[in-house]
């Protein structure tokens, strides 16, 4: 496949090249395959709303491919990766995956990043009985219950509720026990799920919801929201948000003096390096979900090597320089697929799926076993608290103690500072 790298080409040359590529793409099918590689295909958000995560995810998957090929490939065959940009647009997914399957003749597919981009892949996978690894989708399989779908996001068997369980458990454990809670989330797919799960947990843990509202993602100013929440004076504030609104909420809370006893929960974006370095000390005390932190309890085999390689490549690629959030999971998703191909000694979709379903895998994000609906058998959504952050230097986030793991118990690396205001000093 020809790739155009330079952006300096005049537009017409590009158009000509597109036409040429169309012809080549057609001819490419007929070209005999050298060395007969195993092909893995995927669409990934390289442009559009989710590209800030999609690009690092693809980089991680490429690292896996290089790692595997260095060790001689899978079943003695090299691995080849074919990826297309889904533009963060679900409408492109059916086209991309049929192209992958029918024109590129890939042996396996992996999902794109995010619930919205996984969803349109499900019926295609089911019609063709594919084994499919999902990269960070929330509750994609609840309606389909497709047995050969597996999700690398560690949400666990009940994704909506498991998401925030840790946050609520930590809150309930404090003495005196907080009573009131405010729920706020964006009008978008993930936050709606997270808030729905949180509502269940509010009941389960016996809190009283005193505020439960949502806002459009294009909101500019979050101070009115923070102030409205402050007016009802809740003990807990649970926020389910995407990066720009996470930043908005954190800043607004600081500005209007919103000081609940526990603050955070489901904010996407605080995990990103650019966001962490710009918010700096404003993060202190926030308890938020996460997937990985450079704490001693999280040092699984192979992860250091992975980050060394990733961070090297990230410099050139212009993506998240640390890559602690999504990349190791994207890597693990294909790692599991590779292990299952080796383990089952087969390229048969069903055999590989059966193998994944019945085995535990040791990956760079730890031991993974799948359960109901292809989710992790046991939830491992972390709750971390930002502690002792000074200034906005990026290096401080590489060492332990800044993002302390509070939950779950077996990965705990420190204690919660309670209430929120105490951690801000």
């Amino acid at each position: 496949m020809m790739r155009l790298r330079t952006s300096t080409l005049p537009g017409w040359a590009l158009v000509g090249a597109v036409a040429g590529t169309l012809v080549l793409a057609g001819a490419g099918v007929l070209v005999a395959r050298a060395a007969d590689p195993i092909r893995i295909g995927l669409g990934m958000a390289l442009t559009g709303g989710l590209s800030a995560n999609g690009k690092p995810a693809l980089m991680a998957i490429r690292i896996w491919k290089d790692d595997v090929n260095k060790k001689g490939g899978l079943l003695g065959r090299p691995v080849e990766l074919i990826s297309y940009d889904d533009q963060t647009n679900p409408a492109t997914v059916p086209g991309i995956y049929t192209k992958l399957l029918d024109v590129d003749k890939v042996d396996f597919v992996v999902s794109g990043y995010g619930t919205n981009l996984i969803a349109p892949l499900m019926p295609i996978a089911m019609e063709r009985k594919l084994t499919i690894m999902g990269i960070l989708g929330l509750a994609n399989n609840e309606k389909y219950k497709y047995p050969n779908y597996f999700q690398i996001q560690p949400s666990g068997p009940d994704p909506e509720a498991n998401w925030a369980t840790g946050f609520f458990e930590i809150a309930a454990r404090q003495n005196p026990k907080p009573q009131t809670i405010a729920l706020i989330g964006a009008d978008a797919e993930y936050p709606r799920h997270a808030i729905a799960g949180a509502r269940e947990l509010v009941k389960k843990f016996g809190f009283t919801a005193v505020y439960d509202k949502s806002y459009p993602p294009s909101t500019v100013d979050y101070t009115p929201i923070a102030r409205a929440i402050k007016a009802v004076n809740p003990d807990i504030v649970f926020v389910a948000s995407y990066p720009p609104d996470s930043v908005g909420m954190v800043r607004a809370a600081a500005e209007v003096g919103l000081q609940p006893k526990i603050f955070g929960g489901g904010m996407v974006g605080l995990q990103f390096t650019t966001v962490m370095t710009s918010l700096g000390p404003m993060l202190n005390g926030i308890v938020n979900y996460d997937f990985w932190a450079p704490e001693a309890t999280m040092m699984f085999p192979g992860i250091k090597e992975f980050f060394a390689e990733y961070q090297k490549r990230a410099k050139e690629g212009g993506v998240d320089p640390l890559g602690y959030y999504l990349p190791p999971y994207a890597y693990s998703a294909v790692q599991i697929l590779g292990l299952a191909i080796e383990g089952s000694k087969s390229l048969d979709q069903q055999k590989v799926a059966d193998y994944i379903r019945s085995n535990e895998f040791s990956t760079i994000v730890g031991k993974v076993r799948f359960g109901a609906n292809g989710e992790w058998a046991k939830s491992r959504v972390l709750q971390v608290q930002y502690q002792g952050i000074k200034g906005t230097d990026v290096e401080q986030f590489r060492v332990p103690g800044k993002k302390v793991v509070l939950y779950p118990e077996e990965f705990k690396s420190g204690n919660v500072i309670y209430p929120y205001s105490a951690a801000q000093k």
Partner: protein, 310 residues
């Protein structure tokens, strides 16, 4: 080309589509073809209002999404079959079209465009907060086993071929009728047209309603195509841009313009998605748009006409 001849060509295209569907070529062709044909419908429908009557609708996503969400509502409420969905999606969008038609009483030019844009935002907010059709979480459609055809891809492709042919035939018929001539007159000068006996309001209402109808029709099968619909992708700005850009590239004054524009730009985008597959994709759209409007202001059909005249 006489009307009967056009009809024959239309039937032939549908037949060709059916043959292609039966042929069992690479399934990717059906999926990519569906998207391109969907744009043929969208561009042609948009052009009935934008090209013929000169009212630039920025709210294309609203109509498209309304078609899609009408389908979702009817699937959820009644398990309604596909033909019903397409007709209903079209009719509901046509009602919205009628509504914006009355806007033209007071709003002309860019004001009209901005009002349609605002309408799109308001409608999107409504859908986001309407849990029954999935709200912000989105709606997952589990497709039933495919009737009559080999796969859903083939069925939807064939359907879109038929819808595209019907839309283009209707647009062509209108263009060459007294309605089309009246629309052209009011596009050139609304006051003069009214004073020359053209019932401008009625024609505008007709154009907005019909344009809305076919935009809704284009959106109605969308849930079956993606199987997962959420507001931000159903109301994607790309629909507004493509609906505008495709007729511009092809030429806005004839039915052929939007068809050529949709096929060219739609295919280029499909090809770019699976070849270049990066930001350059968007860059191409941008550069092509700029070059076209600067170098070939009347679109490809206009360019050909000009060359022929020489």
């Amino acid at each position: 080309m006489k009307t009967r001849g056009a009809l024959a060509v239309g039937v032939a295209v549908i037949g060709l589509g059916l043959a292609l569907a039966g042929l069992g070529v690479n399934p990717y062709v059906y999926f990519a073809g569906y998207v391109v044909l969907q744009y043929v419908v969208i561009a042609t429908a948009w052009n009935v209002l934008g090209g013929y009557a000169g009212y630039v609708n920025f709210g294309t996503p609203a109509f498209f999404a309304l078609g899609a969400y009408t389908s979702i509502f009817l699937i959820e409420a009644l398990r309604a079959p596909l033909p019903v969905l397409i007709l209903s999606g079209g009719l509901v969008a046509a009602l919205l079209g009628l509504g914006i038609g009355y806007l033209t009483l007071r709003l002309k030019g860019v004001f009209f465009s901005i009002a349609t844009f605002a309408l799109s935002v308001v409608l999107q907010t409504l859908i986001i907060n309407w849990e029954y059709v999935g709200g912000a979480k989105g709606y997952t459609l589990i497709r039933p086993p495919v009737p009559f055809f080999r796969s859903w891809g083939v069925l939807l492709f064939t359907l879109m071929v038929a819808l595209a042919v019907v839309t283009v035939l209707v647009a062509r018929t209108i263009e060459r009728s007294w309605i089309g001539r009246g629309l052209a007159a009011l596009r050139d000068d609304e006051d003069a047209a009214e004073c020359m006996g053209v019932p401008t309001l009625r024609l505008k209402l007709f154009a907005t309603t019909l344009s809305g109808f076919f935009l809704g029709v284009a959106g109605a099968p969308f849930p079956y195509y993606v199987t997962y619909v959420e507001p931000s992708s159903a109301f994607d700005l790309n629909y507004a841009v493509n609906a505008l850009a495709m007729p511009m590239i092809g030429g806005t004054t004839t039915w052929l313009g939007p068809v050529i524009g949709a096929v060219l730009l739609g295919t280029a985008q499909q090809v770019a998605t699976v070849t270049i597959s990066s930001e350059l994709n968007l860059l191409i759209v941008g550069v092509v748009l700029v070059l076209f409007v600067v170098l070939a202001p009347e679109g490809l059909t206009g360019l050909v006409r000009k060359l022929r005249r020489r």
